[in-house]
């Protein structure tokens, strides 16, 4: 991907994106679904998946919670 394409990807907004508040409300549910089946999680909650793809801070929280859940179950 070249520079203009990267910029375009960054500026492109997804109307499915639910925003931080809704994504964080569902994060514990979404993380357990991802730990079991990532594709099913994205299908069940496309708005959360869209948000986590665009919001760095929420994606960081998601990664931290997923790491904690995986550490607990392994």
């Amino acid at each position: 991907m070249n520079g203009p394409e990267k910029l375009d990807r960054f500026l492109l907004t997804d109307p499915l994106d639910v925003g931080c508040e809704q994504a964080m409300d569902l994060l514990h549910v979404y993380v357990e679904l991802v730990a079991a089946d990532p594709a099913a999680a994205a299908n069940r909650y496309p708005g959360v998946a869209a948000h986590l793809a665009a919001c760095g801070p929420c994606a960081e929280d998601f990664a931290g919670l997923l790491a904690a859940v995986i550490a607990e179950t392994t």
């Binding site: 203009p4 910029l7 375009d8 960054f10 907004t13 514990h28 549910v29 931290g64 904690a68």
Partner: protein, 195 residues
């Protein structure tokens, strides 16, 4: 979970056990994030504060737990979010960015745009700069420049402005949409992938 709403002695013991677990998760999370300018005692203090505040939130909200996930996953979410908030606040103790002159080259680097090599990259950057100045509201411009030109983390800006992450994200979301529309209208970006 039931122990957290039981008799006082039982509740106290459950809270102490939960705090121990939350502290372990908080320490693990601050280590996982890795890029902090927080080390040693300061880092452990941040983890302790996150665990204590998360425990307080959990004990207040335990009645809202609806069993949609394991209780531990629900509880861990609180401590992860507390770590984020505290790291955002901590940024201003050792800021690594100067909020003076705007460094638009940072934006060029972020997207791999090299104006020296490709004239169209310079045109695109100039058009973006113009759209930021002319198409965004003052608030949108202030937030966009702070995050993407100065490199201030979003959670740090949340702490500085005293707002919440959702509100700031919405500001950025609207700014991105406006900027893309402006660049498409001026022929700098293709409308093909627009949603």
């Amino acid at each position: 979970m039931r122990s957290l709403t039981g008799a006082p002695a039982e509740r106290e013991a459950a809270a102490a056990r939960l705090h121990e677990v939350l502290l372990r998760i908080a320490r693990s999370e601050v280590r996982r994030r890795g890029d902090l300018r927080v080390t040693g005692a300061e880092l452990d203090d941040l983890a302790h504060q996150a665990a204590a505040d998360a425990l307080m939130a959990i004990t207040h909200k335990v009645g809202q737990f609806r069993g949609e996930s394991r209780f531990t996953t629900w509880a861990y979410k609180f401590v992860i979010l507390e770590v984020s908030t505290k790291i955002g606040r901590h940024f201003w103790r050792h800021p690594t960015v100067a909020l003076g002159a705007e460094d638009w080259d940072r934006l060029a680097d972020r997207f791999g745009l090299d104006p020296a090599l490709e004239p169209e990259c310079r045109e695109l950057l100039d058009a973006l700069h113009r759209a930021v100045d002319e198409d965004l509201t003052d608030h949108q411009r202030q937030v966009f420049v702070a995050i993407f030109v100065h490199g201030v983390p979003l959670d740090a800006l949340v702490a500085k402005l005293g707002c919440n992450r959702n509100a700031l994200y919405k500001t950025v979301f609207d700014a991105r949409r406006k900027l893309r529309s402006a660049l498409v209208a001026n022929g700098h970006l293709d409308n093909g992938s627009s949603r």
